[in-house]
């Protein structure tokens, strides 16, 4: 057992923390909110130049092939900095799927564009009736002479409005397979919208979308592997947000005065902050575990750790976010202060890629298996 980071990881973490603290102010956040697709091209370029977009791209495809922990270190800093550019949804998640799929070698050009920041991707796997379960898939891939015809509906495909290609899951016979669909393909239509807490998404209609045989990336195991990696990284992102809220709240309690004293002298508020801190540290332990296991070849071990982390952090981050607003009082409710924006970011985290309820069920199913 050794929980030290390598010196490379410490450098990576340092640069991400510095970027988030100095390169990405609250004003930049508000600017990014108004940028097309809520992604400021200048910021995206910087993120690419740091090499962070290449972290989930295999070395064989010209990427860095970093561990999940490497990526999580960046994500935590981005979460702490309220960076809303689609680091996970537009790059890490789809890259991890492709890297884990049978067709990995065939997509090097696309992955190269992704790593350089020239293209973004998105994954469309959720359906209304399936909630968070990638195996609940009613979208159909009908094989024909030219390849496959995709038909069905997906909801809330994060970052889809910004993507050059979508990775779409569809039922191919008895299997659920993954298909790479260029955004401009006939029959593919998006209803785009901004998302709670920042970023954009789309509901996706596939109305007889014809793709080549080559478009088939692989089967659902690649999606599951990519999803687990994305979730572990997303938990690290949430951890950053929790830490930021803890720091802002404890600082506010030190300075804000009521009844002639700093409100941090009130025992009830003190204990609330202690609870926030304890939840933050407990969360960190499971996030470390999830990032360590996300790269495991043992899918059971991987799922167990990832679902435990997501189930725990979903609850802990909700508590931290709610109490941060409560302890700030009125000012915590306003758009003017960043606290409320972290609150929304963490609220969205609780839902995306599966909520606590879903992951407790999955954790239990893995434990029972």
């Amino acid at each position: 057992m050794d929980l030290s980071f390598t010196s490379e990881q410490e450098i990576l973490q340092d640069s991400a923390v510095k970027f988030a603290q100095k390169g990405y102010s609250f004003d930049q956040y508000k600017k990014s909110l108004k940028a097309p697709g809520q992604c400021d091209p200048a910021i995206w370029k910087q993120v690419a130049e740091f090499g962070w977009l290449a972290l989930a791209v295999p070395e064989s495809a010209g990427g860095i092939g970093g561990s999940t922990l490497d990526i999580a270190l960046v994500a935590e800093a981005l979460g702490a900095g309220l960076v809303i550019e689609p680091f996970i949804a537009g790059a890490i998640f789809p890259a991890a799927i492709i890297a884990a799929s049978e067709s990995a070698g065939r997509q090097d050009a696309l992955l190269g564009n992704l790593a350089s920041g020239d293209a973004q991707l998105a994954v469309a796997y959720s359906e209304r009736a399936g909630r968070f379960d990638p195996a609940q898939c009613t979208t159909i891939a009908d094989k024909n002479a030219k390849g496959f015809v995709l038909s069905g509906e997906k909801i809330c495909a994060f970052n889809a409005p910004n993507a050059s290609h979508l990775i779409v899951s569809a039922r191919n016979g008895s299997a659920v397979d993954l298909f790479l669909v260029p955004r401009e393909t006939a029959g593919l239509s998006l209803t785009a919208y901004p998302v709670l807490g920042g970023g954009v998404a789309a509901d996706v209609k596939l109305d007889g979308v014809q793709v080549d045989s080559d478009a088939r990336l692989g089967d659902i195991t690649a999606l599951e592997a990519g999803l687990d990696k994305a979730i572990a990284v997303d938990c690290a992102l949430a951890l950053g947000g929790m830490k930021a809220l803890f720091e802002r709240t404890s600082a506010y309690l030190r300075t804000r005065k009521q009844f002639g004293v700093a409100i941090g002298t009130f025992q009830v508020l003190q204990h609330r902050v202690v609870d926030m801190f304890i939840e933050l540290e407990q969360s960190r332990s499971l996030v470390l575990l999830a990032t360590a296991k996300a790269d495991s070849g043992d899918a059971v071990e991987r799922r167990r750790a990832v679902s435990a982390a997501k189930a725990y952090v979903a609850k802990a981050s909700k508590m931290v976010a709610q109490q941060a607003v409560q302890l700030h009082g009125g000012i915590g409710m306003t758009e003017e202060l960043d606290v409320g924006h972290y609150f929304r970011q963490l609220t969205a985290f609780g839902t995306r890629f599966g909520d606590r309820d879903y992951h407790l069920d999955r954790f239990q199913a893995v434990a029972a298996a």
Partner: protein, 384 residues
């Protein structure tokens, strides 16, 4: 002992229900969330209530209200919520009205009460200031007497619907002597007076309900003082403790929970989930406890007593439950609750959920945070 309504009360309920069904504004998404409803819809609705004589539904007949009993008021509010109609803007109707009835001069009563009851005048409340959140008495806005006028300077914050209001009632400091409570007075101001400026505050639900209100050398006639100079704190306390019937929010919570459970029942992903059904059952039981605690308070009030100890938890439990229901709406909504600030196809309760969830974080903060409520109650219970 019985919890049954009298036949007269049941008849009254039916009358209100029928009227609500015919007259409640049809704007499901906006009304249901209770937030997105616009100024025009709200004002038109209040006019309609006024023309029926039901806008000032908590007022006695002698001051132009319908003279409902406490139970009738509760029934009225429950039926209003059941129909999905918005609640009335409370500042004039629930707060200023009773204050004028008790502390106002006959001239003030004649001047303001009919205009309020007829929906002609909408009011907002100037209590909080930037430096005084829970510590209300530390307020700094000054009113200096000059002849037959007060000159008001200062700032209020968190002023709900100030951008809609025609008038504002304010706590102002008229003296720096004595305890900080002693120097406070209660003043009425026309929002059109020169020197009053309203600046919007956008909240984390993405909407504009709140404002800052700035006062720069605002001239207010002395006849706009309610009570006497220095009586403001007494009036403020009266105002805060006066209206308890609707504080628990039972009617609106019932409607929100029913809306959710009906949606879940047809949601293919949740209708068979034991966890979703359990959570709804837990909320229903909590709501039932709140409802019957509220009825106990009503029973006491109907008998002419002041609310008993059971009523002290109504605000705390009521707001926790509002938040709990909105949390379930958000979480059951799942990905369908993710779209933000833009209408998308889907179940209305899920679509409204994230806005409601954000908005309702305020309900444990405003009107004396729940922490302050507990401090006050602890003083009563422990006495230290």
């Amino acid at each position: 002992m019985n919890f049954d309504y009298s036949p007269e009360e049941e008849t009254f309920r039916q009358e209100v229900r029928t009227w609500m069904e015919a007259n409640a504004p049809r704007d499901p998404s906006g009304i249901a969330t209770g937030m997105r409803i616009g100024k025009e819809t709200q004002f038109a609705w209040e006019k309609k209530l006024a023309s029926k004589g039901w806008l000032a539904y908590t007022w006695p007949a002698e001051f132009g209200g319908p003279g409902f009993t406490p139970v009738q008021r509760d029934i009225f509010d429950a039926e209003r919520a059941r129909a999905g109609a918005p609640s009335v803007i409370p500042f004039a109707l629930m707060m200023l009205g009773p204050v004028l009835m008790k502390f106002g001069t006959p001239e003030q009563q004649k001047r303001f009460l009919p205009r309020i009851a007829s929906a002609e005048q909408v009011w907002c409340q100037g209590y909080s200031e930037p430096g005084s959140g829970s510590d209300l008495a530390s307020l700094k806005t000054q009113a200096v007497r000059q002849g037959d006028k007060y000159i008001v300077n200062g700032q209020k914050i968190w002023t709900t619907q100030a951008h809609w209001a025609h008038w504002i009632f304010c706590l102002v400091r008229t003296s720096g002597d004595g305890s900080k409570q002693q120097g406070i007075s209660f003043l009425l101001m026309d929002m059109n007076t020169k020197g009053i400026e309203v600046r919007p505050i956008v909240t984390i639900d993405g909407h504009h309900h709140l404002n800052e209100v700035f006062f720069t050398d605002v001239e207010v006639p002395v006849e706009n003082l309610v009570g006497v100079e220095g009586q403001g704190w007494t009036i403020a306390k009266y105002l805060l403790t006066h209206e308890r019937t609707a504080i628990a929010g039972v009617g609106d919570s019932k409607r929100q929970l029913r809306w959710l459970s009906e949606t879940v029942a047809r949601d293919p992903a949740l209708k068979d989930s034991p966890h979703a059904r359990r959570r709804i059952a837990e909320l229903e039981v909590d709501l039932l406890a709140l409802e019957y605690t509220n009825l106990r308070t009503l029973d006491r009030m109907a008998k002419g007593h002041s609310p008993g100890p059971e009523s002290s938890g109504l605000k705390i439990k009521g707001t926790e439950l509002q938040q709990g229901i909105s949390e379930a709406q958000l979480e059951f909504g799942g990905l369908q609750a993710m779209p933000w600030g833009q209408d998308v196809e889907g179940e209305p309760v899920y679509r409204a959920a994230s806005t409601r969830y954000n908005f309702l974080r305020a309900c444990t903060i405003y009107g004396g945070s729940n922490e302050i409520q507990k401090n006050v109650l602890a003083k009563v219970l422990i006495g230290l």
